[in-house]
């Protein structure tokens, strides 16, 4: 086991799967599902390796940084890979029903699989890369794949959304790349570990930090740079919305987190406070807007804006517990939001629309779907025993311990806002409406996947000790001073 090159396989397998789906479009669903299972198995293999031997560094081409590119897997990368694998498998299964060729356009499925598997490649490569230029390439791969998937929905909204997303994504990448250029020319390397050793503040480093943070925040859609997100996430096909909200926005957050911890440890407290404030603003603005929406997918998309805000509360808290809390928020949000978008997709598939006011007793027709929505809602609100609860608890604990209790207030108020919109939706699901549904049978796989993802979001609360231990491998947050 120990001599298997798991990090490489985890990247090459979905890439090869994508190519295979392109070559054999007729078999793409089967090939895609097989690839998804394979990737999950390989991530498990890598997990075993990391748990057994600690953090792994892999020199591609045998050159080693700074000349070559290094892959690096510690607890943090492993956690991101795992959540990607689990959500990815769920989305693959869901999509096999959703893009069923007879129902959804003539050849959507054929176009979906290669692009989705390339997107998965980009995510895995991104979470394993230790090289900031290589990260740029993975970011572009990720961005272009995400845009192509959004446009797959067709129609004016989706295509305009995809276009706006592409421009934003390219802009963010260019900001990031200019930062890479400045860092390379300051320290002669693009390897994160080497930069961490050599870095010292200078005007060029401050400029690089500003550029990279802005570029990545744009991609992560932190308030007020969230302007592009709701329309994109709402207009994409449901499984694509799920993977955008659950995984794609988290990828740029992951890079930001790595850079913040390793390359920019001298970033001052004022900047951290600013990020925290923006996060708080996102929680309130996103929650408030979600409450105002009349369409379900738009509502869920605004809730993503709010949930992303929580991740940034860890910056002013700046302690290991705080970072862990943010990461736990990321995990449970990924599972819960996947379940929610899948539930919304089922409702759309069933009734042909997603107007909240006309949900018309959908609870009787799609009981599994509404259960999934409600369970996911529990995690999003942060009620026990869900993953969302653990995350908020960790953040709250840190806030109180570091005498910054007001961040705790943000957590609680944000939870109340989420509760308001979850109850609103569930309420309409029970009431009768004048508009009759088209009523089209939803494939069982789609209902069950949504429910399983929601159950996972709840169970994350029970797995917490195990996952938190995993996160400590290689101590990604180790350099921080506690409290």
């Amino acid at each position: 086991m120990s001599d298997i090159h798991w990090p490489v396989i985890v990247i090459l397998l979905p890439l090869a799967g994508g190519v295979a789906c392109f070559l054999w479009p007729r078999r793409s669903v089967l090939l895609g599902l097989l690839t998804a299972l394979g990737v999950v198995a390989c991530v498990a293999g890598l997990g075993g390796q990391v748990v057994e031997q600690g953090a792994q560094r892999y020199a591609v081409g045998g050159w080693g940084a700074p000349l070559g590119i290094d892959l690096y897997a510690d607890g943090l990368s492993l956690l991101m890979l795992t959540v990607t694998a689990v959500v990815g498998l769920g989305i693959s299964v869901y999509s096999s029903g959703y893009f069923e060729r007879a129902r959804y356009g003539q050849d959507r499925a054929r176009h979906f699989w290669p692009v989705w598997l390339f997107l998965w490649t980009a995510l895995n490569a991104l979470f394993l890369s230790a090289d900031i230029f290589n990260l740029y390439v993975t970011l572009e791969l990720l961005g272009l794949a995400a845009v192509a998937l959004v446009a797959l929905a067709g129609g004016a909204d989706a295509v305009s959304g995809a276009m706006r997303y592409l421009l934003v994504s390219l802009l963010g990448s260019l900001f990031y790349l200019l930062g890479v250029a400045l860092l390379y020319h300051s320290f002669g390397s693009v390897d994160i570990a080497i930069l961490a050793q050599r870095v010292e503040p200078s005007p060029a480093v401050w400029a690089a930090m500003g550029l990279m943070i802005v570029g990545l925040l744009l991609k992560t859609a932190l308030f007020p740079l969230h302007f592009w997100l709701p329309s994109v996430h709402a207009s994409a096909p449901a499984p694509v919305s799920a993977l955008l909200s659950a995984l794609v926005v988290k990828a740029s957050f992951y890079i930001l987190l790595r850079l913040w911890l390793e390359v920019f440890p001298f970033a001052n407290a004022a900047l951290a406070q600013l990020l925290g404030l923006l996060g708080a603003a996102a929680v309130f603005w996103g929650g408030f807007q979600a409450l105002r929406q009349t369409r379900l997918k738009m509502l869920i998309a605004y809730s993503t804006v709010a949930q992303l805000g929580y991740l940034f509360l860890a910056f002013p808290l700046a302690s290991i517990t705080g970072w862990t809390g943010a990461l736990y928020m990321l995990l449970s949000h990924a599972a819960a939001k996947t379940a929610m978008f899948m539930a919304a997709g089922n409702i759309l598939y069933f009734g042909g629309h997603d107007r909240i006011a006309d949900l018309d007793r959908v609870v009787q027709r799609l009981p599994l779907t509404i259960t999934a929505f409600a369970l996911a809602g529990i995690s999003i609100m942060g009620l026990p025993p869900s993953g969302g609860f653990i995350a908020k608890w960790l953040l709250l604990e840190t806030a109180i311990r570091s005498a910054q209790w007001w961040w705790g207030g943000v957590l609680i108020l944000g939870g109340l806002l989420s509760a308001a919109w979850v109850f609103k939706v569930v309420g309409y699901a029970f009431t009768r409406s004048e508009v009759p549904h088209e009523a089209r049978a939803v494939p069982a796989t789609m209902e069950w996947t949504a429910l399983l993802m929601a159950v996972l979001a709840i169970l994350l609360g029970l797995f917490a000790p195990w996952l938190l231990a995993l996160l400590e491998i290689g101590s990604p947050f180790g350099r921080e001073n506690a409290g």
Partner: protein
């Protein structure tokens, strides 16, 4: 450094900024694109001045040439469709195309709104816009000043990797350091980058069939010219590929020259026979990435690391990967120029 060189550099820098500005501000889109192509050619000159002949070749072929061709083709299609729906009701999306946005009432109000709203240049939108533009100019000037200051404070000795590259060049299998970095030291970047190129094609093909713009006839000049040029372009592509091992050139430059041949051929009205546009075309499109991945896997199975070439085979393996990549890059870029999936024969 002589005075003449300094003057040249200053003029070139000024010309670059001026051309970029003109290209972006030109009210006529066609003129803007032509100026952008001119800008790309001047960029190539700048790369030569910066001792970067490999980039100069790539810029001239891809940056100016192919990007220019893509832009002009898109503009032509835009014009054609612009006459169809000029300022009037938007073209309705085909039925069943918008599974996720079935919302008739909202859609209708929105298109009605679009009917009344004339597209205005942003500068004519009154005082608010003027203030916005003013603020933008001020903040972007501040950004430029800050970045400029950051650049100027960099130490005048570059802490780059020239020495490490030179030290390992022997073992890399090629003697052109840029090719060594692209295909060996940082070959993993190149592998992912071939993925990006292929992905762009997946994306473009997934957008569906764009109405094709068939010229009535290419005209005798284009016809003769292409007959004359295409064989030469293919030869040049082969040469660039071969020479890339020890002199400026390589897979990307060769691939883009090959693509230029393809674009010329497409312009004369030639289309791939439907017999070949299914499976055979797909195989060629993925060949570059495919060979790269296969080589990587075989090397791992032989006990190496990802893309760790044994020094004795390095030259041959790099040439193999580059040859496949050249072919794929050329055909992919030409296919991107065509804009949508070529019609295939009976589906497999």
């Amino acid at each position: 450094m002589t005075l003449l060189q300094s003057v040249f550099d200053a003029l070139l820098g000024f010309a670059l900024l001026w051309l970029a500005w003109q290209a972006l501000a030109s009210p006529d889109l066609f003129k803007g694109i032509v100026l952008f192509i001119a800008f790309g050619l001047l960029m190539a000159l700048a790369w030569v001045r910066l001792d970067a002949p490999d980039i100069a070749l790539a810029e001239a072929a891809i940056g100016a040439g192919l990007t220019g061709a893509l832009l002009l083709a898109a503009l032509a299609r835009l014009d054609k469709s612009s006459w169809r729906g000029f300022g009037r009701t938007p073209v309705r999306p085909p039925e069943g195309n918008n599974r996720d946005v079935i919302h008739p009432s909202k859609r209708d109000t929105k298109s009605a709104h679009e009917k009344t709203r004339k597209p205005k240049p942003i500068t004519e939108n009154g005082k608010g816009q003027a203030a916005f533009c003013g603020l933008l100019v001020v903040s972007l000037s501040a950004l430029a000043a800050g970045l400029g200051y950051a650049v100027l404070t960099l130490p005048s000795q570059a802490p780059g990797l020239s020495d490490s590259v030179a030290a390992s060049l022997e073992a890399s299998g090629v003697s052109n350091p840029v090719t060594a970095v692209l295909l060996n030291f940082r070959g993993y970047d190149t592998l992912l980058e071939l993925g990006v190129l292929l992905l762009a094609l997946f994306g473009v093909w997934s957008f569906g069939v764009v109405p094709e713009r068939r010229e009535s006839s290419p005209g005798p000049v284009l016809d003769r010219l292409s007959r004359l040029l295409i064989p030469w372009l293919i030869l040049v592509a082969g040469y660039l590929l071969w020479v890339g091992a020890h002199a400026p050139g390589g897979a990307f430059q060769a691939g883009s020259v090959l693509a230029a041949a393809g674009v010329l051929w497409l312009l004369t009205g030639w289309r791939l026979d439907t017999r070949f546009s299914g499976w055979p075309l797909r195989i060629i499109l993925v060949a570059g990435l495919g060979v790269f991945v296969v080589v990587a896997v075989v090397l791992i199975l032989m006990g190496g690391r990802l893309l760790e070439y044994p020094p004795s085979f390095a030259a041959a393996l790099i040439l193999l990967i580059e040859a496949a990549a050249t072919l794929s890059i050329g055909i992919t870029l030409a296919a991107l120029f065509l804009g949508s999936r070529p019609e295939t024969g009976p589906q497999r």
